[in-house]
Subunit: 282 residues, 2 copies
């Protein structure tokens, strides 16, 4: 029964757990299998070809476990690998970039801020989508390179994080942004310092919340809702360093102790030789 | 003439330019060729096998350009790949870990602090070397994960960097450290905040300075000093993202505009198929 299959969630690391967390809270009757490719992060500095190859390998791995929907909870992979994933997989695939851009286009009045890692901001992916949806909006993008390390240090509400947010976001506030896209899955962890630096009148777009809403609509439309009382959550990572475990525990305390280590390279190789999935080798 | 050949310097990224900078200032008559593997950093999160393979590839690339000495300006590669490099190369190889540990053993009175990335601290490499050299010393290690991103942001002397240094180094100061090993090539860039947080009486060990001294001694001993009026510096990186150029300019302004991009993977593959250097394939 396809309905009973879990939803696959894939990220380059642990930040995507903020997306999983939104999915669990909006779709409590679903089961989830999360795969964080912690051994090969970050993806943001890698070439599009490499990111696509890694994403296809991760998707193939999740398919072999059986999933009914794939959520790509990684900005870089969402911006780069979605066409290849949609072509290679027989199930629906959702990324985090489109839902966030659509929500921003729906909510924005005049000026939209986009914050993310240096590579996401430089890729211009949010800027392109927003310009296509609402060409009259004024857009302002700002890379915030210290936000990920601050989140990974667990300093979600630390005075230093507040000061860093102040430094990064002051120009956006000055420019009168009314809506800001959190263009990195780690950023919802810093929602308090970010909101405080921007002021209470600014709407923050959480990509995880938006993709969870779209996932719910899609499953309903396709008759794929599991409708269980409570689903199960499986967490898989390709490297379980202490900081990975620590951060997982900070984001999803209830399930973080169930972190399992998998070797994606080996499994992917094994599967490739099994099923000869040349189209999946990128 | 071997004497006229440059000294090769290899790092996973740009932090090793602090080592190059010490080498240039102590050995102004030498030429240098620096290779930063910016496309594949960080090394600290990768397995020892992968780090060794990458280091051998980089060394092979530098050998093909002609060098008389290899300085490994990367803590992870120095801790992991030195035996393999020394076995594979016909020229002398110096790492940053041993010279720094030796200097700490020479200078320390009672309590030595070791600061570095999470992986360097967890590897215990400085702790092992220091315990072997002076078993009576009390050792205290502390990972400082935000130092590298702060340095890469260019916040060398920013008030926020001072506060982060205060948070990280307060326990070391409380424990009465008299000597602290800067166990990461980025850390000399934050020397002022680090020194201020530790207090003026604490000796800071700069691995670049120590390896430059050992390099000078070695060249003199082996009759390999170039003895030119002024040497030349070549900077090669495997990825020249804007932040790489920016950081290089902040560390070595005089030569940073000469940054050249090389494709290590292709060159290494090409060389391997040429010379069939199976022992270098790791």
């Amino acid at each position: 029964m396809t309905q009973k299959l879990p939803i696959g969630v894939f990220d380059s690391g642990i930040g995507g757990l903020t997306v999983l967390s939104e999915l669990i809270s909006q779709l409590p009757g679903e089961s989830f299998i999360y795969l964080g490719d912690t051994a090969r992060l970050p993806y943001g500095t890698k070439s599009p070809e490499t990111v696509t190859r890694y994403a296809l390998g991760a998707a193939q791995f999740l398919m072999s476990r059986g999933i009914k929907l794939l959520v790509v909870a990684c900005n870089t992979a969402s911006a780069t690998a979605l066409p290849a994933l949609r072509q290679a997989l027989a199930i629906p695939v959702l990324g985090v970039v489109e839902p966030a851009a659509q929500a921003a286009a729906r909510l924005a009045r005049q000026v939209v801020g986009i914050i993310g890692t240096e590579s996401t901001v430089a890729s211009g992916v949010y800027q392109k989508l927003l310009s296509a949806l609402r060409p009259e909006l004024k857009l302002l993008a700002r890379a915030c390179p210290l936000f990920v390390p601050l989140a990974e240090e667990g300093w979600f509400n630390h005075p230093i994080t507040h000061q860093v947010a102040e430094v990064y976001l002051h120009p956006l506030r000055e420019a009168g942004v009314d809506t800001v896209v959190l263009g990195c899955t780690h950023y919802p962890l810093l929602a308090r310092p970010i909101a405080q630096a921007l002021g209470p009148e600014v709407a923050l777009i959480n990509a995880g919340r938006e993709v969870a809403r779209q996932a719910g609509e899609l499953l309903l439309r396709e008759g794929l809702l599991a409708g269980q009382r409570q689903g199960e959550v499986t967490l898989l990572v390709t490297d379980a360093a202490p900081r990975v475990r620590r951060l997982a525990a900070a984001i999803i305390p209830a399930v973080a102790d169930r972190l399992e280590l998998v070797d994606l390279t080996e499994t992917h190789k094994a599967r490739r030789s099994h099923v000869g999935s040349a189209s999946l080798a990128g």
